[in-house]
């Protein structure tokens, strides 16, 4: 899922300076799963913003709404009846949702309430770790189902580097597993260590962000 986390409160409060009526919008999909932008988080942040405004001697009216998805126009349209009452929008969705609102309601300033961080899996409650970099040229079939693009700090296709710690952790972060150690262990479990002797060729990075904004055009889906 796409994961995100709240922006620091001082940054949010600075954005809200001068705003009198705020439309705070959550998204009930990915950011709800990672406890950053679902209904619970919307209903937590709204009173906090109101209290912060009162603390600064002002008053902030907060209208709350959580959409099923902020990245689908059909759901975004539900906000049309609420936006006339607001002078700014704060979105707790990922960057896609924020841009969707800004595109649909160009007359209003739309601010992000979260920092979108990665495509991650929930390892355990409260811990999400990156699993996919949306690179557009998946190599998981060659790496025993473990992604070196997202999970290696250097995105090495022929790892490991020389920096793996003795306990199998990454030299960049002691809490992060060296994915190439994990790949090696899985290859050994399957009795296929020889597969790792093969040199993987340079990857086609033009299909990732390096090749410009991504685009999938499926004409067959349009009528």
């Amino acid at each position: 899922m796409i994961v995100a986390e709240w922006k620091p409160m001082p940054e949010l409060l600075e954005r809200m300076r001068g705003v009198k009526k705020l439309l705070l919008v959550g998204c009930a999909t990915c950011v709800a799963e990672c406890a950053a932008g679902g209904e619970r988080e919307v209903e937590t942040l709204a009173p906090l913003l109101r209290m912060a405004a009162a603390k600064q001697g002002g008053a902030l009216e907060v209208i709350t709404k959580t959409l099923e998805r902020q990245c689908e126009w059909e759901f975004v349209e539900e906000l049309a009846k609420l936006t006339p009452a607001a002078d700014a929008v704060l979105s707790l969705a990922c960057g896609i949702g924020v841009q969707a609102l800004a595109e649909r309601f160009p007359q209003l300033p739309v601010y992000p309430g979260v920092n979108t961080t990665a495509l991650s899996i929930r390892e355990k409650p409260g811990l999400w770790t990156a699993r996919c970099a949306a690179c557009g040229d998946c190599v998981l079939g060659d790496t025993f189902g473990l992604c070196p693009v997202a999970r290696c700090a250097k995105s090495l296709l022929n790892g490991p580097c020389g920096g793996t710690r003795k306990n199998g952790k990454c030299e960049v972060d002691e809490n992060t597993e060296c994915v190439w150690t994990l790949i090696f262990e899985r290859a050994r479990q399957r009795g296929q260590l020889e597969v790792l002797l093969k040199v993987r060729k340079p990857k086609n990075w033009s299909r990732s962000g390096h090749g410009g904004p991504g685009r999938i055009d499926r004409e067959d889906l349009r009528v």
Binding site: P8, M9, R40, T44, P47, L48, M51, A52, A54, K55
Partner: protein
């Protein structure tokens, strides 16, 4: 300034696990007799029923403080309910600190089968901590 006047009597919402309080306790009488602060007691089947959004909303609706009373570690009938409540309170306190409201407006205490005097003593302590912070700024308008 009025928030720190001698007349300031903090309004405290007490969210307590039903198991944390002595079932024989006459809470209504104790609440009525409280001096120097006002209490709104709310019984919960477990302290974990209080979400972070509930805690923040109570404060944003004008409570000067919210006191959660949970069962001691290891004796929660829902096993991890009181631990969840504690984590939520910790996060809530951090957020209140970040917006300058003061973390002491929210707190958690633990107890099981508490006598009503013990509960009121906990609330008295919370009231004392909040007096130093003054009245909840969001209730300023209605107090004028």
């Amino acid at each position: 300034m009025s928030g720190r006047s001698k007349k300031f009597e903090p309004r405290i919402v007490a969210l307590y696990c039903a198991n944390a309080l002595d079932p024989e306790a006459d809470l209504a009488a104790a609440v009525k007799a409280a001096e120097g602060f006002a209490v709104r007691p709310v019984a919960l089947p477990c302290s974990s029923k209080a979400e972070l959004s509930h805690l923040m909303k109570l404060l944003a609706e004008g409570a000067d403080a919210v006191q959660v009373i949970a069962c001691p570690e290891g004796s929660c009938q829902f096993l991890v309910g009181s631990a969840r409540a504690e984590k939520r309170v910790q996060r809530g306190r951090a957020l209140l600190m970040q917006i300058g409201m003061g973390e002491e407006r929210l707190g958690l205490a633990r107890g099981r089968g508490l006598k009503v005097e013990e509960l009121m003593a906990l609330l008295e302590r919370r009231a004392g901590l909040v007096r130093g912070l003054g009245k909840n700024p969001i209730s300023g308008e209605e107090e004028k």
